[in-house]
C-alpha cells in the first residue's frame, strides 16, 4: 500500500489547475502548490488581504512589511498585480470569481461539507479568520489533506464530527492516497495513487466509495 508525499501531492493539485486560472491557496500545506505553477501557465494568485498577482515569499531586501499574504508572511508582487480593500477582496471570493481555492481540512464529508476551523474542543479559543469565506470562495473548492489522521482515522467521513466551516462546499479532496470527488452524489475516487485500490480506500475510510 503506497501513496505520494506532500510535494508530489502539491504537484498533482497544481497539474489540475487550468491555465490562466485565478487561485487562492490557503494557509499551510496548500501554499506548497505555488511551487508547481510555472509562469507560463499564467496562474494568478489571490490573497484575501487584498491582492491579485502575488509572487513568491519575499527574501532579504525584498521584504516589505506592507506586503504580506493571508498567513502574514512577507511576499512579493508580480507585474500586473493589483491591490484592493477587504470588502472588495472578500466580495471577489464570495462572488465566485476565483476559479480554484485549495484548503486544508480536519474533515470533509462525502457530501462536500468542510470542517477546518475548530476542533470542537470546549476550551479552545475560537478563531475563524477567512476560513468560512474561503470555503464558499471559488468556483471549485479543493481540499488538500492526508487521508488519515496520525491515529489512522479517516478524515474523509460520512458526516463531519467537527464544527462545520461550510456546507456542501467542497468539490474535490486531494489526499496522499487518492483524489476524491465529493458532493451531492457522494464520494467517488478520481485517482488512486501507487498501488492503492478502491477496496483499500473503502476499508480505510469505511465509506461506500464509487469509481
Amino acid at each position: 500500500m503506497t501513496g505520494i508525499n506532500r510535494t508530489e501531492l502539491a504537484a498533482r493539485i497544481a497539474a489540475d489547475i487550468p491555465v490562466g486560472a485565478y487561485v487562492n491557496l490557503g494557509i499551510g500545506a496548500p501554499t506548497l502548490v505555488a511551487d508547481h505553477l510555472p509562469a507560463e501557465r499564467n496562474i494568478t494568485l489571490h490573497t484575501e488581504n487584498g491582492m491579485l498577482g502575488m509572487g513568491p515569499a519575499a527574501e532579504g531586501d525584498e521584504i516589505d512589511p506592507d506586503l504580506i499574504n493571508a498567513g502574514k508572511i512577507p511576499v512579493t508582487e508580480l507585474p500586473g498585480a493589483s491591490y484592493f480593500h477587504h470588502a472588495d477582496s472578500f466580495g471577489m471570493m464570495r462572488g465566485g470569481h476565483l476559479d480554484v481555492c485549495v484548503l486544508g481540512a480536519f474533515q470533509v464529508s462525502v457530501g462536500g461539507d468542510l470542517a477546518n476551523w475548530h476542533t470542537g474542543a470546549p476550551d479552545a479559543i475560537p478563531a475563524v479568520g477567512g476560513a468560512m469565506d474561503l470555503a464558499i470562495g471559488a468556483k471549485s473548492v479543493w481540499v488538500m489533506m492526508d487521508l488519515l489522521t496520525r491515529e489512522g482515522v479517516s478524515k474523509l467521513v460520512e458526516a463531519c464530527s467537527y464544527p462545520l466551516t461550510g456546507v456542501g462546499c467542497v468539490n474535490r479532496v486531494y489526499t496522499d492516497r487518492a483524489v476524491f470527488a465529493v458532493g451531492r452524489n457522494g464520494a467517488s475516487v478520481i485517482e488512486a495513487f501507487g498501488d492503492t485500490t478502491l477496496d483499500e480506500l473503502r476499508e480505510l475510510t469505511g465509506l461506500a466509495l464509487t469509481e
Binding site: 490573497t47 484575501e48 488581504n49 487584498g50 491582492m51 531586501d61 525584498e62 521584504i63 516589505d64 512589511p65 506592507d66 506586503l67 504580506i68 499574504n69 502574514k72 512577507p74 508582487e77 491591490y83 484592493f84 480593500h85 477587504h86 470588502a87 477582496s89 472578500f90 466580495g91 471570493m93 464570495r94 461539507d113 475548530h118 476550551d123 479552545a124 479559543i125 475560537p126 478563531a127 475563524v128 479568520g129 477567512g130 476560513a131 468560512m132 469565506d133 470555503a135 464558499i136 470562495g137 464544527p163 462545520l164 466551516t165 461550510g166 456546507v167
Partner: protein
C-alpha cells in the same frame, strides 16, 4: 483654509469617551495604526468595544490595551494567534466578551454600515455554529444568513499619504480594512506617513475620499520606508 490636519496623536484622540466603540484597521502588521493604538493606551478611555481583525499579539499595542483592562468587548475574526496570550488569558477568565465574525462578513458588515445598507444576506457561515440563532433564507437555490451592519464611534486607521482634506492613499496590502472602516465610523482618525500638498494626490488614485476622514495625523516615514518615496520596492526593508 480649513484643514483636517491634527498636530499630535494626543489631539486626535482626546475626545474618545469611556464606553466608545472603536474600529482599528490593519491585518497583521500591515495597516496597523501603531501610534494611534499606543496613544489610546495613554489616553485612558475604558470599557471600550474594539473592532479589529485580530485581538492583539505580544505585549504591545492592542494587547497592551487589553492587558490594561480597557476593552470589555472585541469583535474580530481571528483572536487566536501564537502570541495572543493576553487575549487568551482574559477570555478564559471571562473578562472580555468576544463576537467572532468570519473575516469576509466582518468586512462586508463594516462596508454595509458605511453604505447605509440595513442588512444583507451572505452565504458565508451558513450551516455553521457562527450562524446559530441568525435568520437564514434560501435565495435562488443557495442558502444565506442575514447579517447586520457594524458601525463605530471612532475608526483608527493607517494610510500612506494624505492631503489636508483627508483624502488618503494606502500602500500595498496595508490597505485592507482602512477604506471600509473609514466610512463606518462617526469620527475617523487616520495616521499617515506623510501629508502632501493639496492637489498632489492624483484624484484617480485617491482610495479613501476625505469625506470619510475627520482627522489626519502625520507620523513621519516609517523607519523601513525612510528614503523610499512612493516606490514599489522600498530600500532598507526590515524583516
Amino acid at each position: 483654509m480649513l484643514s483636517k490636519l491634527t498636530p499630535t496623536v494626543a489631539d486626535a484622540l482626546a475626545d474618545i469617551p469611556d464606553g466608545a466603540t472603536i474600529m482599528i484597521g490593519g491585518f497583521g502588521r500591515a495597516g496597523q495604526p501603531v501610534e494611534l493604538i499606543d496613544q489610546l493606551l495613554v489616553q485612558g478611555a475604558t470599557n471600550l468595544t474594539v473592532i479589529n481583525n485580530n485581538a492583539g499579539n505580544g505585549d504591545t499595542g492592542l494587547a497592551a490595551l487589553l492587558a490594561a483592562g480597557r476593552v470589555s468587548k472585541i469583535v474580530c475574526s481571528f483572536p487566536r494567534q501564537t502570541d495572543s496570550h493576553v487575549f487568551d488569558g482574559l477570555y478564559r477568565a471571562g473578562k472580555i466578551e468576544l463576537e467572532l465574525v468570519p473575516q469576509g462578513n466582518l468586512a462586508e458588515r463594516i462596508r454595509a454600515a458605511g453604505a447605509g445598507i440595513g442588512a444583507f444576506f451572505t452565504p458565508t457561515g451558513f450551516g455553521t455554529t457562527l450562524a446559530e440563532g441568525k435568520e437564514t433564507r434560501e435565495i435562488g437555490g443557495r442558502n444565506y444568513v442575514l447579517e447586520y451592519p457594524i458601525r463605530a464611534d471612532y475608526a483608527l486607521i493607517s494610510a500612506y499619504r494624505a492631503d489636508q482634506l483627508g483624502n488618503l492613499t494606502y500602500r500595498k496590502t496595508s490597505r485592507n480594512f482602512g477604506p471600509v472602516m473609514a466610512a463606518a465610523a462617526d469620527v475617523t482618525v487616520a495616521q499617515v506617513d506623510r501629508v502632501v500638498g493639496l492637489g498632489e494626490l492624483d484624484p484617480e488614485s485617491v482610495i479613501t475620499p476625505g469625506i470619510f476622514v475627520s482627522r489626519v495625523v502625520e507620523i513621519g516615514d516609517r523607519a523601513w520606508l525612510a528614503g523610499a518615496d512612493v516606490t514599489v520596492e522600498p530600500e532598507g526593508a526590515e524583516a
